[in-house]
């Protein structure tokens, strides 16, 4: 399948969103709101769940499934308070020794006036730093679109998994075509050259696993996540953090 078709599939209407994954992969979800500083960002759904019996902190970038909900969720584009809410709950996960599970689906962090005023860049930067040394396992699963820094803000993890039609990129193919070539009709080429499909990213070593999209996906994810957390909860915390550091440290090292 061509890269642009994956991009279209990742953005398709009717595709399950973070809330669907939270509901179907975990049980007894209790949503928690607010960053305790400014407000509650509804582009980020977060709370506590059980995964095959084990308490986990779950955080999802939620784009909404119908027009009304999409507007309410700001189309999955989080403001700084969304990243700060996520970090608050991750710190809580660390305190109570439960793993963190993130579902990523966003075209990017919101590029608006208030987002800038309240420090979008600073909020993401803080998440990158703090997640790197969060003393509890983190797995991020890309379920749709993974747009640049806004996706990475929830993806400094021990493992990053993707669904087969999810994408992850430094820039949208539209943005790339218009900025580099001043020609928005070259989106298809850009999608291909950016190497943003799950298959490409697996090859580049940026993600660990890719899951086929079938009727068993939820069940499969549940079993694999439970097994992965079972394993990583056994690791001494120094080993866990050293592995996480090295996971990113080896990316893009010149020969």
């Amino acid at each position: 399948m061509e890269a642009i078709e994956r991009v279209r599939a990742a953005r398709a209407k009717g595709r399950p969103t973070a809330v669907d994954f939270i509901r179907n992969v975990t049980e007894e979800f209790m949503e928690m709101h607010g960053d305790r500083r400014f407000g509650d960002d509804r582009a980020v759904v977060a709370g506590i769940s059980r995964l095959a019996g084990r308490p986990v902190t779950v955080i999802g970038l939620e784009r909404g499934s119908d027009t009304k909900e999409r507007v309410m969720r700001n189309f999955g584009c989080a403001h700084p308070e969304g990243y700060r809410k996520a970090l608050r709950l991750m710190k809580q996960a660390e305190k109570f020794h439960r793993p963190v599970l993130c579902f990523v689906d966003t075209s990017g962090a919101y590029c608006g006036l208030e987002a800038e005023e309240r420090g979008e860049a600073q909020a993401i930067a803080e998440n990158l730093m703090e997640m790197m040394t969060l003393k509890t396992p983190i797995i991020s699963v890309f379920i749709g679109e993974g747009g640049s820094g806004g996706a990475l803000g929830l993806a400094v993890a021990d493992q990053v998994w993707m669904l087969e039609n999810a994408v992850y990129s430094v820039v949208s193919p539209e943005g790339c075509a218009s900025i580099l070539w001043k020609d928005s009709s070259r989106t298809k080429e850009a999608a291909q050259f950016l190497k943003m499909t799950a298959e490409d990213l697996l090859e580049l070593g940026v993600v660990e696993r890719v899951f086929p999209e079938t009727e068993e996906t939820y069940q499969q994810l549940k079993e694999e996540l439970a097994a992965a957390f079972e394993q990583s909860m056994q690791l001494p915390v120094e080993v866990l953090l050293e592995n996480r550091y090295q996971r990113f440290r080896r990316m893009g090292v010149p020969e």
Binding site: C111, Q122, A125, M129, T133, G153, V170, L201, F248, G252
Partner: protein, 288 residues
């Protein structure tokens, strides 16, 4: 007189319309007069150099090359560069990138968009990185990420403070996802340096946006900026397109960030040496 270009789309420096600081580059010393991009005043170039490339009429801080900045900042002849030979390759075979790199290297006389090393400042040792506006406006690819990560790892090992000058249009698209990963990689190295009790001071200069702001550009213990510097996550044109409104004057400028609580101070270039030296002295450890 009717100005034909009156209704044209405003040119945005972040997207490469305006060749930054070409006219004030230290590599072309034969020009006698330079025009300030702020107030358009014609300034004798020797006077401008004396004023550290700050316009004496309007105070505009012109962009200066990384080597120029290092020379103006650190104790004489104290800078020792690290990883000077590290150069980018076209790692994901992005079309046109190999040629673009070759041209940029030729134009800028630099191998990459950041210079890293060790120096003395006011008699105290410091690990230093300075980003290069003349190299793809300081865009962050894998080499920039690697050099900065190595600098922080070195500084952690030697218990050295880090001072970093940022200028960047963001992550380098032509290196795809691997340039995005540099945000995480550098942030990890900054965190380890910080957790070991070391000082990191960021000086944001015009413009610092995108992936650099959203990683090591905003992770300092102390955050300062040059007057008038554009600092943000998204560039102004992207925001205007998203919200379909004109942005207010001064939006995303250093003074605005100070007011919103994201900077410790806005510090004019002529005070950098003194200001940073004092901070280094205040953080000197007894056991050093």
């Amino acid at each position: 007189m009717l100005n034909k270009s009156l209704f044209k789309r405003p040119k945005n420096t972040l997207e490469g319309y305006e060749r930054p600081s070409k006219s004030v580059s230290p590599h072309v010393p034969d020009e006698m007069y330079l025009s300030c991009p702020g107030c358009k005043a014609m300034l004798p170039s020797d006077e401008l150099a004396e004023k550290l490339y700050v316009c004496p009429r309007c105070g505009r801080h012109l962009r200066i090359g990384a080597r120029q900045r290092i020379a103006l900042l650190v104790d004489r002849d104290s800078f020792r560069e690290m990883d000077a030979e590290m150069a980018s390759r076209n790692i994901i075979d992005f079309p046109g990138y190999t040629k673009k790199l070759a041209n940029t290297v030729l134009d800028s006389q630099e191998k990459e968009a950041v210079i890293t090393g060790e120096a003395m400042l006011g008699g105290r040792p410091v690990a230093l990185f300075v980003m290069e506006p003349n190299f793809m406006i300081g865009s962050m690819g894998t080499v920039v990420g690697e050099k900065i990560t190595r600098l922080f790892e070195y500084a952690t090992q030697k218990s050295l403070p880090v001072i970093g000058f940022t200028v960047s249009g963001g992550a380098r698209m032509q290196e795809g996802i691997l340039s995005l990963m540099q945000m995480a990689k550098t942030s990890g190295a900054v965190k380890r340096h910080s957790d070991a009790g070391n000082l990191y001071i960021v000086v944001l200069t015009d413009p610092t946006t995108g992936g650099v702001t959203a990683s090591f550009g905003m992770e300092g213990d102390i955050q300062i900026a040059e007057p008038g510097a554009l600092i943000g996550f998204a560039g102004p044109r992207v925001i205007e397109q998203t919200i379909r409104q004109k942005l207010p004057a001064g939006f995303q400028r250093a003074e605005f960030l100070l007011e919103k609580g994201f900077l410790d101070a806005v510090v004019p270039r002529r005070y950098h040496r003194k200001y940073l030296s004092r901070l280094l002295a205040l953080h000197e450890r007894g056991d050093a």
